[in-house]
Symmetry: C2
Subunit: 194 residues, 2 copies
DNA sequence: CAAAAATTTTCACTATACTGAAATAATCCC
DNA sequence: GGGATTATTTCAGTATAGTGAAAATTTTTG
């Protein structure tokens, strides 16, 4: 009851355009079990997981390589930014190694929350990564059951399929740059910009 | 109740000179559970396995990469040998790709069984790979619950920690070259030629 | 938009992973 | 070699993974 790989399994299944029933039958398990696994209500046994991966044609080591980067939340504090020069411009790295390498690239928009307001639901269906750059205010990030306090100058990045909520806990309004990635060709998923 | 990675987990634990109790405590599980997992009497849940790997400091993707090559038995029939020339010698490959690459290299000895005689026990403690080259006679290999018929000209290779038995089922005596590997530096185990 | 079909979720039940304590086996040490 | 200590296994009981059917939801279709 600890692992949170259900959403990834669901994303893989959707990318193959397979129904729960189809996959369950091929893997030799019940539909209800698969349904519960994909929503993290049950932590699958190793046997079950390996059977599912076999149906999807995903080698276990590849799956766990991605799982590793998936389950890692990385918070870069303002004073931890790495600064470097390039082509006359000054850069400050906002995203650590575990996020920048791999098969997801970013797109951005601007986000503002009034005091008490919150954003992000438990299952928005979007697949990929999110990157938040906090400009003003303070907030709480709830990610995979754990809570993180963030404030102006901090940067946070995580896998968007995992349930997450961000809430303005301060008095002022909360402002941040928000970057979202589509799934691209390097991962399991056949379709681009799904 | 399908996976057979218990012996590998036990081998890893022994290489670290840790007791069942120590590991179980660190991983937050009971001693009895670990005991049963290592002898394949229980297929661990994913949570439990990941906790154990964390104690050992083994990344899951690495573990499953090795598990993949571990669980594969490869039988090369006489007429399937790949023949090639090199430095004036003629070679016939006896060992497929899944065995030759990776972190185990081979050493050899000669094996002879009289009719009905059998060799190999369910847990000989030796860690590494075995390679058998059958010269004369016929036999049965029982490996991980499955039975394979082998005869003169065949080659078999497998991970020696998995329970295995070879039995002379023919009328004549059974002869084979037998190759065994020690664990080397590329895998989890600190000690060489343990 | 409403009925039908297909897919997913819920619910009561069964099988098995997991626990804690006692029994067995192995190791230590004088 | 024998008693003490430590490590492992066994056993009865509990928690949770897994099942099969029916209910609820979503999608399709006319």
């Amino acid at each position: 009851m600890k692992t949170k790989l259900g959403p990834l399994l669901r994303a893989i299944r959707n990318s193959r355009h397979l129904t729960i029933k189809e996959v369950a039958t091929k893997a030799g398990v019940s539909s209800s079990l698969l349904s519960q696994i994909e929503r993290n209500r049950i932590s699958p046994s190793l046997d079950t997981l390996l059977q599912l991966l076999e149906v999807y044609g995903v080698p276990p080591n590849k799956f766990f390589k991605d799982y590793e980067t998936m389950t890692r939340v990385e918070i870069v504090k303002r004073d931890q930014r790495k600064i470097y020069q390039r082509k006359g411009f000054k850069y400050e790295t906002l995203c650590g190694e575990s996020q920048s390498k791999g098969s997801h690239s970013f797109n951005a928009f601007f986000l503002e929350l009034s005091p008490g307001q919150k954003r992000g639901d438990t299952d928005d269906g979007h697949l990929g990564r999110e990157l938040g750059i906090v400009i003003a205010g303070s907030a709480q990030l709830i990610y995979g059951g754990e809570t993180y306090d963030i404030q102006a100058g901090d940067t946070l990045s995580f896998f968007s399929q995992i349930p997450h909520v961000i809430k303005n806990t301060g008095e002022k309004r909360f402002q941040a740059y928000w970057i979202v990635t589509p799934a691209d060709g390097e991962d399991y998923f056949g379709e681009k910009n799904a």
